[in-house]
């Protein structure tokens, strides 16, 4: 279970974009968080994935409070999250061929990288694309690689922040299909943040609106 307890967070302590928000993702559950852009839902997603230290409140992973943020988070906690962001070009090192990009978390954690071809296949990337750098592939192909990277360490939770906002309908359905196949097989939980109600309601077990969360 992933719990956000009374989280306040932002980039300026005097004007936090997230105020006193609580949200729980139960084991194996898919929760959609729906809100307009700029509302603070991405900040909350970053807090949930231990990528942004909240000003107040707690993140609790299976009963254990988060013990740090970003690189200070204990490895076991940090690697229990896979995160995919909206803009693959901003979250991919432009110098790395896709195979290296997918392998990043494996290398960083001293794991063998021979899982890469299988990961690539899972997200529908063909072998000829793995040697290309980000500028040589489409947004959709790059986002597939980012999803493969997020799955590399077999996370207990996936956090998808507007993962498909830039993508066409077919690529969107394909990536959501990959996430759901992984969740079925691994039992991982999901926090999917977005602004498209139709998409989140189709994808997730339950969808909460940003307004309900913040007025509670």
């Amino acid at each position: 279970m992933l719990e956000l307890r009374d989280v306040t967070a932002g980039y300026d302590r005097r004007a936090p974009v997230v105020r006193g928000v609580s949200l729980t993702v139960r084991v194996g559950e898919a929760v959609g968080l729906l809100g307009p852009s700029g509302c603070g839902k991405s900040t909350l997603a970053r807090v949930a994935a231990l990528l942004h230290r909240p000003d107040a409140g707690q993140v609790v992973l299976d009963g254990e409070p988060a013990a740090g943020w970003r690189h200070r988070a204990p490895r076991a906690q940090r690697t229990s999250f896979g995160v995919v962001f909206q803009q693959p070009r901003l979250s991919a090192d432009p110098r790395l061929p896709l195979a290296r990009l997918i392998a990043e978390p494996l290398r960083a954690n001293g794991r063998p990288v021979d899982a890469v071809p299988e990961l690539a296949e899972t997200v529908g990337l063909t072998a000829d694309l793995l040697g290309r750098r980000p500028h040589e592939v489409s947004d959709g192909q790059l986002q597939r690689a980012c999803l493969a990277r997020a799955l590399a360490l077999r996370p207990r939770w996936l956090v998808c922040d507007e993962m498909t906002a830039m993508l066409d309908a077919s690529t969107t359905a394909a990536l959501v299909g990959v996430v759901e196949a992984y969740r079925r097989e691994s039992g991982a939980g999901l926090l999917a943040v977005g602004h498209d109600r139709v998409l989140l309601e189709r994808w997730c077990d339950r969808t909460v609106g940003w307004a309900e969360l913040t007025s509670a």
Binding site: P36, S37, L125, S138, G140, A169, T172, H195, V198
Partner: protein
């Protein structure tokens, strides 16, 4: 949702025939970004050009504006006729850069860009952008022209002195639309105008574009957002691997009987409000297109006949469309 599609009263604004664009790569190979595209666009009409990213639809837009990189070569014609004004008959593909810069971009073709904030100069206010454009395109200057230009796109007057980064996504989009409308161009070209916008803002933006089209302009809406296209288009053109594979009435496409081309059907069915099932596989590389129908490796109806490229006949390019329709 979709406006009724009666035959439009206006004349032809744009007539594209056999448009091909290819890029020569450093190793001497070619990437065929657009192959043999033909379509007409009438005054008062909105044509949505849809397809996956990398299918060539943005290249087509750049070709119409003469904004292709130096390694591109173009064939075919794209004749811009100014219905009623007698100024028509300019082939955009044959025009030189001077004509395009002085007479076409902004004046006869208005561009609503993909990323309005990136399109505007960060250090200048909206007023200064509008002022410059009004002066350049209409020869007049002064606050009235700027106010009128802002008003046309419902850009609030009290935000005119803001810089692009101080605007919300919606207002930045309106500022860009205001700029595109200044020259009173007969063709509006909107290239992914709603990328990254929230759904209600997407709807507002495309509704405004539709409104600006009125009955004397034509709108070419290039988008990967099928819901946005379905909201305002009169006709839909589906592009796959650089070719138009279906071009049809929007009401028939989004309603009954639905798309006829297998790819178009797959794309529409991928929507979360429909089957939410992807078209299997990946689009082919434009530099290494398969022989015959480029969709064949992903098509469940492919047969031997598909080893030759299907012609676009009565709005669809598929050897088995009668089967596909059954």
């Amino acid at each position: 949702m979709t406006p009724p599609t009666e035959p439009t009263p206006g004349g032809t604004v744009l007539s594209v025939r056999g448009l091909c664009v290819r890029f020569e790569m450093r190793d001497g190979s070619y990437v065929r970004a657009v192959t043999d595209a033909s379509f007409d666009l009438a005054a008062g009409e909105c044509l949505a050009l849809v397809g996956e990213s990398g299918c060539g639809k943005s290249v087509l837009a750049s070709a119409l504006l003469g904004l292709l990189p130096a390694n591109a070569s173009v064939a075919g014609s794209a004749v811009l006729g100014d219905a009623g004004s007698g100024a028509g008959g300019l082939d955009l593909l044959a025009a030189d850069e001077r004509v395009l810069a002085r007479e076409v971009r902004g004046r006869r073709v208005g561009l609503v860009p993909q990323s309005p904030v990136a399109h505007l100069t960060p250090v200048r206010t909206v007023r200064s952008h509008l002022d410059e454009t009004v002066r350049a395109l209409t020869g007049t200057s002064g606050p009235d022209g700027v106010r009128a230009a802002a008003g046309r796109a419902a850009f609030p007057e009290d935000h005119l002195d803001r810089h692009p980064h101080q605007l919300s996504g919606g207002l930045a989009q309106r500022a860009a639309t205001a700029l595109a409308l200044v020259g009173d161009a007969s063709l509006l070209l909107a290239d992914e105008p709603t990328t990254g916008l929230d759904r209600d803002l997407v709807e507002r933006t495309v509704d405004e574009l539709r409104r600006h089209t009125g009955d004397h302009r034509a709108l070419l809406l290039i988008t990967h957002d099928l819901a946005a296209a379905g909201r305002i288009a009169d006709r839909v053109a589906v592009m796959y691997a650089g070719r138009l594979v279906e071009i049809t009435d929007a009401a028939a496409f989004f309603g009954a009987p639905g798309p006829r081309h297998p790819y178009a059907r797959g794309l529409l069915n991928a929507l979360p409000e429909r089957d939410f099932a992807p078209v299997p596989g990946l689009p082919p590389e434009l530099g290494a297109l398969p022989e015959g129908c480029a969709f064949a490796p992903r098509c469940d109806r492919a047969s031997e006949a598909c080893a030759t490229v299907p012609e676009l006949t009565s709005g669809v390019a598929c050897h088995h469309v009668a089967v596909a329709r059954a």
